[in-house]
Symmetry: C2
């Protein structure tokens, strides 16, 4: 019987305890032995919880209990979560987590520490919630040189965009609706400004390309600039608008960014609606593989954390080899050099647009704006063309065959 | 440096050797050491191949070489492939394979032998080609009780159905086209009659539900009965027609079958077109996760075989725990008891249909047939209703929320 500790009894933490309980037979079979939660660390009391007897307030108890081989950190953030993770690893305990902010900002350091101590630091739940992405990328794609990763990495923004497209809702109404349904937090900044997607593309990039890509190296644009008429214009052109994190290896460096994109209506990502996530990984042997599913939520995220617990229990004495090297200031290159077609909404006249851009596909027209899709060009080039008197109310890339 | 042998130098075998060569640096990093092909076993000569010096004809050479720790069996079939696999495992060598027929018919026996000998028998490439499915199912979904698996498991039939839907081609023309393009073999029986999909759903079912499901326990219907007008009627109803393998756990038993289905135009599987594959796995914690990508082809399949080689090299002394128990004659239950809506094409009049079925959705009408979608009912019930003078020219399930 393996004994574990769960740090944090919030949404994900309680899900972890429930999954371990509910699926205990299956989990024991897969782990090779039973898995028992011995401690739940939280500052709060939970007098009505069936697990109230497991709750403790002193982290030292866990640290000093040599029977605890695996610690599940589901506190979130980079405060005590960082401290507890470091100390757990230093004490020779495996750590598993759903904490994308911590992995995106301190992944290199923590993975190095885990390696030094001969234990695992696993984080399947940090990207794509319950969708298996990290492990397939590290293992199944191990024979491939990964050239590009992109995807819908945030369910909150995808829900809002889906609602805007479906019902013609404007951004603020769709956000309110998402908050009412519990898909968006009271302070939705991290989701709608793209910070959450940014952390996830950092983790995927670091794993795929072997060096730590930090959040400040990823140009990040959220969805608050997506207007209802952009949805309509995009549909006229045969596209949906999705917030994508994207990362591409270019000559030993990495171009990574987060921004709204137009994706073809017939593409698989266009079918990823509501709070679902979808990740595309491109390998030089396998081509594109796509993973889709619930990108957040209590039970999906918990199921990924528990999969890491099972893997840690199975590999107590055989460390997994997930790791990457440190990054550097010059690792990131400007994504503006990446070429694509572009979607532009502008108050400029069609005549003016045609004069500067040559051949474009016009989408439609309202009283005060027109929209069009350009030929393929870099961010630098389109910036120059727009600077000639074509102010862009919206400017999004069109996802295509890069 | 790990030394391996490749059995069979056909399409997949040559791809395996090429991937190991092309991505050798990445592979050495992921495997913890370099991987070198020491022998390629084939009865043929390849005087023009850059690898001609590695080719041998005597399997005993491999068997007796104690430096060979991993054998990649990419011969296919259940003849010498079975014999070589057994003897390799008995000699304490890890075996990896893309051979779905062998795993579907002898998986239990070979996995048991591997366990007895303390080595791995891995088969990621046997389902979904290069798409990671087997390992995510075994590892990432380890915290879930899997309740159902279904998917587009054969690229040849999906290409044919896609062409029929897109171009209004009839089945035999689409098959000829697929053969010309190399997507279908000269004898296409195993693909179009569903046998290939059957083997894959056997492997997925065995892994997910823990007991070996054999091909003869899976009711298998191919696509030769799908008519061009079924495509048109399905589109009128808002569906595409896809050949699905499906398997569901029911009270300790398994209902598995292969048959054409109507899938909603907005669903992710409907977006899986051409030679692509898509697999949906439903877990009790995570919900549905979907994996899509190239389901066949030289390099995608080879990349999955090589991923297993890497995993074997990393785990030479720590066996992976992929296994299942033996099946039994009473493991399979009749899929007719599963409920769904149904699509029927019939020469019976609409009046007659309405009289027997009550409320249905009619799709359209040609001179000699009409088509409709029923309410949700079991296969038994619809069989009874149809027996009252409504002959079915086509009878397909409609994929929905089961």
């Amino acid at each position: 019987m393996a004994e574990i500790a769960v740090l944090g009894f919030g949404v994900v933490g309680s899900g972890v305890v429930e999954v371990l309980d509910k699926n205990s037979g299956m989990i024991a079979k897969n782990a090779g032995q039973g898995v028992r939660v011995k401690y739940i660390l939280d500052v709060r009391d939970f007098p009505d919880s069936p697990y109230k007897d497991l709750i403790i307030k002193d982290f030292e108890t866990i640290l000093n209990d040599s029977n605890i081989s695996v610690v599940a950190e589901v506190i979130g953030g980079v405060g005590v979560a960082l401290d507890f993770t470091r100390r757990s690893l230093e004490a020779g305990k495996n750590v598993v987590t759903s904490n994308k902010e911590l992995v995106a900002t301190h992944g290199f350091e923590l993975l190095r520490l885990a390696r030094e101590k001969g234990v695992n630091y696993l984080f399947e739940a940090s990207v794509g919630g319950g969708i298996p992405v990290i492990r397939p990328l590290a293992q199944c794609m191990a024979a491939n040189i990964v050239t590009e990763i992109y995807g819908i990495l945030n369910g909150t923004t995808n829900y809002i965009l889906s609602e805007m497209a479906k019902n013609g809702a404007d951004f603020s109404d769709a956000l309110l609706d998402a908050q009412r349904k519990g898909y968006a937090e009271a302070d939705p900044t991290a989701d709608i400004e793209g910070y959450d997607a940014c952390r996830k593309i950092c983790i995927l990039s670091s794993l795929a390309f072997g060096r730590h890509v930090y959040p400040q190296q990823v140009r990040t644009e959220g969805i608050s600039g997506v207007a209802t008429e952009d949805m309509r214009f995009a549909a006229e052109l045969g596209y949906k608008i999705k917030l994508l994190g994207r990362s591409r290896a270019i000559g030993g460096k990495v171009a990574a960014y987060v921004a709204p994109h137009l994706v073809g209506e017939d593409s698989l990502l266009a079918g990823v609606e509501g709070v679902m996530n979808g990740v595309v990984i491109r390998g030089n042997a396998v081509g594109n593989v796509v993973f889709c599913g619930a990108g957040a939520g209590k039970m999906p995220t918990a199921s990924a954390v528990v999969a890491d617990i099972i893997d840690s229990v199975k590999h107590l004495y055989a460390r997994k080899w997930i790791s990457w090297d440190d990054g550097s200031d010059d690792l990131a290159v400007d994504p503006a050099q990446l070429e694509s077609a572009w979607y532009v909404r502008t108050p400029a006249t069609r005549e003016k647009v045609a004069r500067e851009f040559g051949e474009v596909v016009f989408a439609g027209k309202t009283d005060d704006a027109t929209a069009f899709k350009t030929n393929v060009m870099s961010g630098k080039i389109i910036g120059e063309l727009l600077s000639r008197g074509i102010p862009a109310l919206s400017l999004f890339r069109v996802l295509g065959d890069y």
